[in-house]
Symmetry: C2
Amino acid sequence: MGTESADPALAARVADSFRDAPDERLRTVLASLVTHLHAFVGEVRPTLAEWEAAIGFLTATGQACTDTRQEFILLSDVLGVSTLVEAVNSRPGGTESTVLGPFHVVASPPRANGDSIDLVGRGEPCLVTGVVRGADGVPLPGASVDVWQCDQDGFYDVQVPDAQPAGNGRGLFTTDADGRFRFRTVVPSHYPIPTDGPVGQLLRATGRHPYRPAHIHLIGAAQGHLPVTTHVFVAGGPYLDSDAVFAVKPSLVREFTRVDDPDRAAEAGLPSPFWYVEFDIVLCGA
Amino acid sequence: MGTESADPALAARVADSFRDAPDERLRTVLASLVTHLHAFVGEVRPTLAEWEAAIGFLTATGQACTDTRQEFILLSDVLGVSTLVEAVNSRPGGTESTVLGPFHVVASPPRANGDSIDLVGRGEPCLVTGVVRGADGVPLPGASVDVWQCDQDGFYDVQVPDAQPAGNGRGLFTTDADGRFRFRTVVPSHYPIPTDGPVGQLLRATGRHPYRPAHIHLIGAAQGHLPVTTHVFVAGGPYLDSDAVFAVKPSLVREFTRVDDPDRAAEAGLPSPFWYVEFDIVLCGA
């Protein structure tokens, strides 16, 4: 790969056109964008038909976006850009971050610890719990844990509004005095990212599968700390080694254990047997 | 500028995910895209808020596109990418190419040589003529010359459908036995590119003006030759040295001369005085 444009004087003129931007950061980002974009175009030397196809693809990607669907985030995801952005923003010492994904498009309803985010009642019952801590190991009471997940068939509520009530699989929890959060749900399934749009066309054209391994999304946040956007992945499930959006990190994979104990089930408010996973979240200081 | 991503292993995994793409060209383009995109992201290290702003900008750009407006072409234009794509596709020896622009969104109506593309009757009358030749200098009868331009106030028909009939300022001509095309029009004005969308926001945020110098668009095409997409620019007008879309090439600038001769005006079918410009188009062999 080279960094030279096919027409370095043009790239320099374009970068220079932003010289009067009052925001220095914007100037820096645009100068870098122009340099890399011109280097890419100079390297692949697209035909006019290819350029038109690219314009058409980007236009269709924008037009596929709705209030409940974000196709550009999906594109960022399948190109590994979302994971890279998470990586450059993460700090060592805390829970590893991973992609936000395209389904955090509605606010999660506030719920009390122990509540169920499963409003449908199918699927394998599951208890999720964990402690939010600072990097020093001290539990953080009053931290927020925003969770969202697909159901046992791999669908988020916003994808199938006829089959799931709004807010199914979503909840905004607050840690208790011991820094603990706890909610009932169903074990999520692996699932394909939406393939009926331009990103799906890209995956089909390139022979890539659209599947993500089973996971629950979490955003942990607490005053005085950097929030973390992450997942807990179900150990042993398919696609852990070929996530369509490159979001798996080994530190985020957990065993979901089967609990066949009527007493513990009654305590959790779940039928027996149920599944159980523990996932602590460690936040770095702000 | 570096070419290394902040996470080279991730960039390599993403590029490798396209290894099974059956189309080798697509594989090459995507590998290059991933490398340059990850290098850009690794260099600017966007915050999550900046990444979200970029997603929002691209989404809005796609959603601003309609049947008669192409905001992604406009974005390509103001970043110099359209000019670069033209450059890597041009061959020496012919008329220099320049950008298609966002207004070639409707087919030009076929017209006979000498016809007027001015359906409104305001503005300074103008006669445009030229010969389409091969690189060997031999005139090409039967070549097509697709022209489109704004009016004396700087508007294309598709921008102001209430004020201009569809097809105003547009025509598809065929060269005569001598390889000549000829049409009547009005002298075009310089004009701002559309600024009511995301690209306009970008220009305002960076202190760039939105103006293009006055020009007429032409696409010359003939059997056995490479088509050329180009402009003829009005010499002496404003913004020739700071075109918002980086499309000016000195070889494409022509004097529009004032003709105060009732006989020539009558011959051209125009009032006297009128303006006159000659612009030959030289096509390279296919």
